[in-house]
Amino acid sequence: MSARRPTASLDRGTAAVLVAIAILAPLIFNTYWIGTLLTQMLFLGIVAASLIFLSAYGGMVSLAQVALYGIAGFAIGNLTTNGNTKGLNLGWTPLAAIPVALAITIGLGLLFGALSSRSVGIYFLMITLTFSVIANLFFGQVTSLSGFGGISGIPAPGFIGNVDHHPDRLYYLALVLALLVYALLRYIARTPFGLTLQGIRDDPVRMSSLGYNVTLHRTLAFGFASFIAAIGGVLFAYWNGHIDPATIGLGATIDVLVVAVIGGLSRLEGAWLGALVFVLINNYAQRIGFVSDRFHTLIGVVFLVIVLLSPDGLMGLWGRLGDLRRRGERPGQAPTGGSERGSGELEPTV
């Protein structure tokens, strides 16, 4: 179980084609696809990537990522709105609010991380879930910050303009940020900090006896992941223009977990793949006759099937297909991909 390594399973050609499609998307797809589906896919993918980063490199499956994303969104809402809505209505300019919102989220992320990072595995999952539900209830009850109705009319910065009129601007911003987040997470994984984190994932006792502060590394990783989640939250606030406690309820928390699991908990690319599948099901399942309003049941069933059949999610399936292809090309050679070791095992290292 400890041998599971996050591997890049997209070869360069496929990745280049996908990025090219993403850049040209506004020319290919209609406004609904750009403004609703693909932008949503990008920021949901960013939040899911923060979850997958913690899971793949730190062995920590966190359910608090949606709460942190919501905290960033509520901070943006409170700081930038100007009258006519709930919250503090501080009326800052949008650009000034961004660093403050990120700082608040990272601060709370470090607090959450410090409290939960001495626990591992299933305990960590439960503790972060309680943080998530408490954050949801907090914004529901504290009317001076939000209340159940939430905050409306959150303005996007000037260069994005009105999101309804220029959906492609927010789309490109989300695309650039998603690519940066992906590159940053891959880079962090290769720094001494990232390598130590992976060492802690595989054998915390040994790392501790080598002199590494296990709890501190876990806490810092959590704080870093909360920064990533906060980016997603800021994008969400601009995209939706409105944020309310239901945005970060148990349902939303589970939605992001579903995204990460569908994509694959051990591969960063899976975040955006899972997000795409989720967004498509969410938007189109209602048109299937027998599904209609019960698309959450459909999502639950898809989730259940993936957990039961392919614990590595769709990226795990992709990896195994790749292994099969390679085996076909060079008969007699055993597959060497990391996905083989990963299949059937979903446990973070305890």
Binding site: R118, V133, G249, T297, L304, V307, E347
Partner: protein, 354 residues
């Protein structure tokens, strides 16, 4: 980094930590007893009646927390399965009882049934039906999905999350989104004079406390005095060894899942009578169960009792004794309670390493 680590483990830091802990525990107690400025009741010394009522509210809420969380902790302790569908089980038990009660008595008026229309049996039968339905459902889930993923804790947790998504959506489809409640029997729905500080207290809450005590005592006797209980306690410590002794551990797992789920169902029926049943209630009760077992220590029955008491008292006193302008912030106290316990004992008060 190293300086910080040295400091964190130094004696001074420990003393500071202890001091902070004492202040964090002592201040709320002193506040409630003697100060309580700007609250609706005033301090306990000046208004013992409302203090007593708040205390009783906290204790009776704790009884219900305990009933629900004991099922959760029983399943976890033996099988290391975190049943994330526990909240959905709670709600499902409540809805089944509601349907059975309406089937017996009729639909009632636009606000549902009133307690005067309901006899004791018309509450007890729905209680049994709700518990049995959830017990069956829990057993089904365990046999179909959980059983063959033994030892893969995270995967099992994800499976129960998937089940809870499906259940929540199906319950919304079948029972609607409007809050409904189960009617108490007329026998319970009245006030009793406690003859202390002139408190008239509602009997239903005392009944809840009684059920909580009875279930706690029953579970304790079952685990301590019966053969199945002994196997369960042995299984908590060493599953492989119990299995090697020739005991059918799968049967024991099935029994524990049956009883644990039934307790969620019992909790749902009480909760549905005491408050109401609606979409979202499942999330709140999953939260309550998680907080109780995280505070008390996963898998420990005594821990669940202590955790339930702490949570029940904290939520009720925070709601009643915060200054009137700040009562909205009472949810923070749940977080603070959790934070204090995790900072001092990461595995919970009675938790043991797996």
């Amino acid at each position: 980094m190293t300086d910080f680590a040295t400091f964190a483990s130094s004696r001074t830091a420990r003393l500071v930590g202890r001091g902070l802990l004492v202040v964090l525990i002592a201040f709320p107690v002193i506040w409630v007893l003697f100060i309580a400025n700007g609250t609706s009741f005033g301090s306990a010394v000046s208004d013992p009646k409302d203090f007593l009522i708040t205390l009783l509210n906290g204790l009776t809420a704790a009884a219900l927390y305990f009933v629900v969380a004991s099922g959760f902790t029983l399943i976890f302790g033996l099988m290391r399965v975190v049943n994330m569908a526990h909240g959905a089980f709670f709600l499902f038990g409540g809805y089944i009882a509601l349907k059975v009660q309406r089937g017996q008595v009729g639909e009632g008026g636009s606000f549902g049934l009133s307690s005067s229309q309901v006899g004791l049996f018309q509450w007890v039968l729905p209680l049994i039906a709700g518990a049995a339905a959830v017990a069956g459902l829990g057993l089904l889930m365990q046999q179909l999905f959980i059983r063959w993923n033994q030892g893969q804790e995270l995967r099992q947790a994800l499976i129960t999350i998937a089940v809870s998504i499906i259940m929540a959506d199906q319950m919304l489809a079948h029972f609607g989104g409007v809050a409904q409640d189960i009617a108490w029997p007329g026998t319970f729905d009245k006030f009793v004079n406690l003859h202390v500080a002139g408190v008239q207290y509602t009997l239903t809450r005392l009944v809840i406390a009684g059920i909580g005590l009875a279930i706690g005592l029953g579970l304790w006797l079952w685990l301590k005095k019966t053969r199945t209980g002994m196997v369960i306690r042995a299984g908590v410590d060493d599953r492989a060894m119990v299995s090697a002794m020739g005991i059918n551990i799968q049967l024991t797992f099935a029994i524990a899942f049956l009883v644990g789920s039934a307790l969620a169902g019992v909790g749902g029926v009480i909760g549905g009578s005491f408050a109401s049943l609606a979409p979202g209630v499942d999330a709140n009760w999953l939260l309550n169960s998680l907080v109780v077992v995280i505070i008390g220590g996963m898998g420990s029955l005594g821990g669940a009792a202590i955790g339930a008491l702490l949570l029940g008292l904290t939520t009720n006193f925070a709601a009643a004794y915060l200054p009137a302008d700040y009562t909205f912030y009472s949810i923070i106290f749940t977080f603070v309670l959790l934070a204090i316990v995790l900072a001092v004992r990461p595995l919970g008060l009675y938790g043991r390493p797996a």
